[in-house]
């Protein structure tokens, strides 16, 4: 394996191939920034790697999701709440396929649109091309497509604003043919993408002087003499291609070096107003390459491009093969991990999404959740303490609350978000069917929390070994949930199916607590009773610790199945406190305050302190309004 990785050159070439390379794209595209138009052609060399023949081809036309307000994407976005800005006519997008040839035969007129997920007749994000002849297993087809596209004002991390262009999901892309048939979902508001691995050879024509960043490495750059320059990018063993162009970027480079991992050349395209933050982006990327590399497996491409998107572009925080968008602000305090969090997270997607290519339409938790967990873990290795920051005055002025240190387990994993939406969907529901407004809590936070719970239950070496095994087994493939669960049970040598029944197959919430604690004395000794209770529906074995005044601590194991459990003790010392899950192994517990009781409560003391502080806030609030009298 290491030999393979070393073979990766900073040229886009990966030799020998790491993936099946069954969907290879050669694209020629010209961007006219003035009209925000892309005119392009692509030649796809596609091979049927399933066991069944196919009589049609299915393409994603993602940009049609932003064609009008009636598409599935826009309807779901409206469901998720929040203010929807009205879009001017020119701000919408479209992608019009003008010609399709398969094996030299013009099939343009046969194209039609389908909506496999919701039958929305207004959704044109999936195009079907019926084939005159079936493509047999193992056979290949050459597909030529011509199209024009209107670049939207940035939406869902794609589009243009001012001179900034970020172009993702921008070309007609084949779905994934599986033994069960085509897996080609419509574009949904809450989900991302899924496609096969291949080789991308893309020539991009933009105005002279505009800087281009793209998946892969630049192989050629030629001035066309008409005020435009063509940049050719090339990359093997990736499943997508995104690019950006702007005349405003500052370009920086650095490298990642490691004793046992292959080196990586880093290229950063930075907004001028963030000129002083280059090192923060590089350091965060190094953190990712180091820790993810050590924990899961090496990054094989030898190069990576970090894009700092323009303000208000909405393009920040997104992953594409060998390229990702970070996200920082003009004022970014050093003790707050922005842009580090987002940089580590998106760089981390090179591993979970880029290299291990799960289906993000159906099982987004397999990359987003794994990555959220890994991000929090990696950030905690380097960037602690990390403080809470709130932005004021229109969201411009940051203020760091140095009293509030963020914790990996709680804030990094996203417990507050999960707590609010714990019962919103079972994780086993296909991701595109999660409720749009709360899906992120299940995809990102719940996964991170249950992974961290496994880490706390069985130890990091156990979890790391099985995540590494999963990574090794499924790199450049498309794993499904049962593949991961099988790896856990095989490599981990523990049958934790019961755990996945709780966290994956149900939407039940965990909530254990101490219902009662009494400790009364007769002449001889203290009689202590502790009632532990399961308030939630989900099950997890927990520890109960009872502490006595003389310092004695009694640890009990409770399988957590019954609704309650009584513990009694006769001791010479009075009990002081009782606590369920004192080490907070079960990070998914939605109410940790009720996990303990003490006979020397300090609730009043804490309440007095915080209400006094709040009173000052209120006085100040009143004074603000009284200034108008």
């Amino acid at each position: 394996m290491r030999g393979l990785l070393v073979a990766a050159l900073v040229s886009g070439v990966v030799n020998p191939p790491l993936s099946p390379r069954n969907a290879n794209y050669t694209i020629t595209a010209r961007l006219d920034p003035a009209t925000r138009t892309i005119t392009a052609t692509e030649t796809i060399t596609w091979r049927n790697i399933t066991a069944n023949p196919t009589g049609e081809l299915q393409f994603h036309l993602y940009w049609n999701a932003w064609k009008n307000a009636r598409t599935t994407f826009m309807r779901e976005r409206a469901l998720s709440g929040g203010r929807q800005r009205p879009r001017a006519a020119d701000d919408w997008a479209r992608i019009d396929v003008t010609a399709v040839k398969v094996l030299g035969r013009d099939l343009t007129d046969g194209r039609r649109y389908i909506a496999p997920d919701d039958d929305n007749q207004n959704d044109e994000t999936v195009m079907v091309i019926p084939l005159p002849e079936r493509i047999a297993p193992g056979s290949s087809a050459t597909i030529e497509v011509a199209w024009t596209a209107h670049v939207p004002r940035t939406i869902a991390r794609t589009g243009a604003i001012g001179n900034f262009f970020f172009l993702a999901q921008w070309f007609p892309k084949l779905g994934v043919l599986q033994d069960e048939g085509w897996n080609c979902h419509q574009f949904h508001a809450g989900t991302e993408f899924f496609s096969d691995y291949g080789v991308y050879d893309v020539s991009l024509t933009v105005p002279d002087g505009w800087i281009v960043g793209a998946t892969g490495v630049q192989r050629e750059r030629s001035a066309n003499g008409d005020g435009t320059t063509t940049h050719r990018y090339y990359q093997e063993d990736v499943h997508d291609f995104a690019w950006t162009t702007s005349p405003d970027y500052l370009e920086r480079t650095a490298s990642f070096e490691h004793a046992t991992l292959p080196g990586v050349e880093m290229r950063l395209l930075l907004q001028p107003e963030h000129a002083g933050q280059g090192d923060r982006h590089f350091e965060a990327t190094r953190t990712t390459l180091k820790y993810y590399g050590e924990w899961y497996g090496a990054y094989p491409y030898g190069h990576i491009t970090i894009v700092d998107p323009a303000w208000q572009s909405g393009a920040g925080g997104m992953e594409y093969p060998t390229l990702f968008t970070a996200g920082t602000r003009w004022l970014a305090p050093s003790r707050v991990t922005t842009p580090e969090d987002v940089t580590v997270h998106e760089a981390g997607h090179q591993f979970w999404y880029g290299i291990v290519g799960n289906n993000e339409f159906e099982d987004a938790w397999m990359d987003e959740g794994f990555n959220q967990f890994s991000t929090a873990r990696a950030v905690s290795q380097v960037y602690e303490p990390n403080y809470l920051m709130v932005r004021y005055f229109g969201g411009f002025i940051p203020w760091v609350f140095k009293d509030v240190a963020l914790q990996r387990e709680i804030d990094g994993n996203g417990l507050p978000s999960y707590r609010r939406n714990a019962r919103s969907d079972a994780q086993a529901t296909p991701t595109h069917r999660y409720f749009p407004g709360t899906g992120g809590s299940i995809t990102y936070s719940k996964t991170a929390l249950w992974l961290n719970t496994l880490e706390r239950s069985f130890g990091w070496p156990w979890l790391q070994s099985l995540l590494a095994a999963h990574f090794a087994k499924w790199q450049f493939k498309h794993p499904k949930p049962h593949d991961f669960f099988a790896t856990v049970n095989e490599v981990g040598k523990q049958d934790v199916t019961w755990f996945f029944d709780q966290v994956y197959r149900s939407s039940n919430a965990f909530d254990y607590g101490i219902q009662g604690l009494r400790s009364t004395s007769d002449d001889q000794q203290y009689h202590t009773t502790v009632i532990a209770r399961r308030y939630g529906e989900a099950l997890f074995p927990v520890e109960v610790v009872v502490t006595f005044r003389n310092g004695e601590r009694v640890r009990e194991r409770w399988d957590g199945i019954d609704r309650w459990k009584l513990f009694t003790y006769d001791r010479p010392s009075q009990a002081l406190s009782a606590q369920v899950d004192p080490n907070r192994t079960l990070l998914l517990d939605v109410d940790y305050t009720n996990n303990s009781k003490t006979l020397e409560p300090r609730g009043e003391s804490a309440a007095r302190k915080w209400s006094a502080m709040w009173a000052v806030w209120l006085e100040d609030c009143l004074l603000s309004w009284a200034s108008l009298v």
């Binding site: 303000w311 305050t593 000052v616 806030w617």
Partner: protein, 342 residues
């Protein structure tokens, strides 16, 4: 437009005079501080109950008492209603000031119970304003009966003025603010890709809005001053008189406003330097609370200085400093005393 060329004291002298007048009336300051804290305490007690109930006998209270238990705070916040939803880390230290200033200029919504408290507080200020300005204008003790007599005399006059204020501020916060921040600002920054540029645009919006609010506040301040000093009954008449005064003494009034606003800014900055953090329950908490109350007192002092210095400026420009038309009230003796005397 004469700006101090017509005799009388300049803005600096008025400011100093105002500071002296406020400093010579410590009971006023103590009184408004007492009112401020008394309005806040019932709600604070209510929040204390909520917090105590949520923490119960949990060990989570230990961390909450010793510092910041952010995890618990978020748990509390998720189930909170009413004033409980305002209990966030943003109440800690100087963050509280930024939170309120930002909410004020960005017109951020607050829970109904907070708005009700604010309305009650404002009503109290309307009641107290007559007595306060009367005391500051006389620059000598008026005692409780004099003070509250003036409060009563001017309450309904100021209530009528408050109706005008409500309309004007309604236009400022409802129309001008909406136009500036919800329409003009998005339009100006629609295609801006440089955050610094957008920030400068927003600062310009704040400046325009702030200027409008300040001008109105000054007009209403001088309306109150003229109403008290000249014993005016008509709110409209007082506003017209204030506008006339400001027209004739624009430079001095503007200069005085700048000086007073500097005091306000200084109180904010100073608190920013010394604001206590979350601290621990017990003595640390009380020390932090005391420091915070000193800040509250400083803000109230600045507010009184505004009125005192504006009164001083007005009186100095009328060339009869210390003049107040309304006589100090004297209570009639009891019928029995009258009988003995006669």
């Amino acid at each position: 437009m004469t700006g101090g060329s017509d005799g009388g004291g300049g803005p600096l002298r008025a400011a100093i005079d105002g500071i002296r007048r406020v400093n010579r009336a410590p009971a006023l300051l103590a009184g408004v501080w007492a009112v401020t804290i008394l309005i806040s305490l019932p709600l604070a007690f209510s929040l204390r109950e909520m917090i105590a109930r949520h923490l119960g006998a949990s060990l989570a209270a230990d961390a909450a008492a010793e510092g910041v238990n952010y995890d618990w705070m978020q748990e509390f916040s998720d189930q909170a209603t009413g004033i409980g939803v305002t209990f966030k880390p943003t109440i800690i230290g100087f963050g509280a000031v930024l939170d309120n200033l930002s909410a004020f200029v960005d017109r951020t919504g607050r829970p109904a119970v907070i708005l009700a408290a604010a309305a009650a507080y404002i009503l109290l200020w309307i009641f107290l304003a007559g007595g306060i300005i009367d005391r500051l204008a006389r620059d000598r003790p008026t005692r409780a009966y004099g003070f509250f007599s003036a409060c009563g005399v001017f309450f309904f006059r100021f209530l009528r003025l408050a109706v005008v204020q409500l309309l004007v501020y309604g236009v400022l916060f409802g129309v001008l603010h909406t136009w500036l921040f919800d329409r003009l600002y998005p339009r100006l920054t629609h295609d801006v890709t440089v955050e610094r540029t957008a920030f400068l645009v927003r600062v310009a919006m704040y400046a325009i809005f702030g200027f409008a609010v300040a001008v109105c506040a000054v007009v209403f301040d001088y309306s109150k001053v003229r109403a008290v000093v000249e014993d005016r009954r008509s709110a409209i008449g007082a506003i017209a008189a204030a506008l006339g005064f400001l027209k004739r003494h624009a430079g001095a009034a503007a200069g005085l406003f700048v000086l007073n606003f500097t005091l306000f800014a200084a109180s904010i900055v100073l608190y920013g330097l010394v604001a206590p953090g979350a601290g621990r329950a017990g003595l640390t908490m009380w020390v932090g609370f005391a420091i915070s109350q000193m800040y509250v007192v400083a803000r109230l002092w600045v507010k009184l200085v505004f009125w005192a210095s504006e009164t001083a400026l007005f009186q100095s420009r009328l060339a009869h400093a210390g003049y107040v038309a309304r006589p100090v009230p004297t209570w009639p003796d009891s019928p029995a005393a009258d009988a003995i005397q006669s």
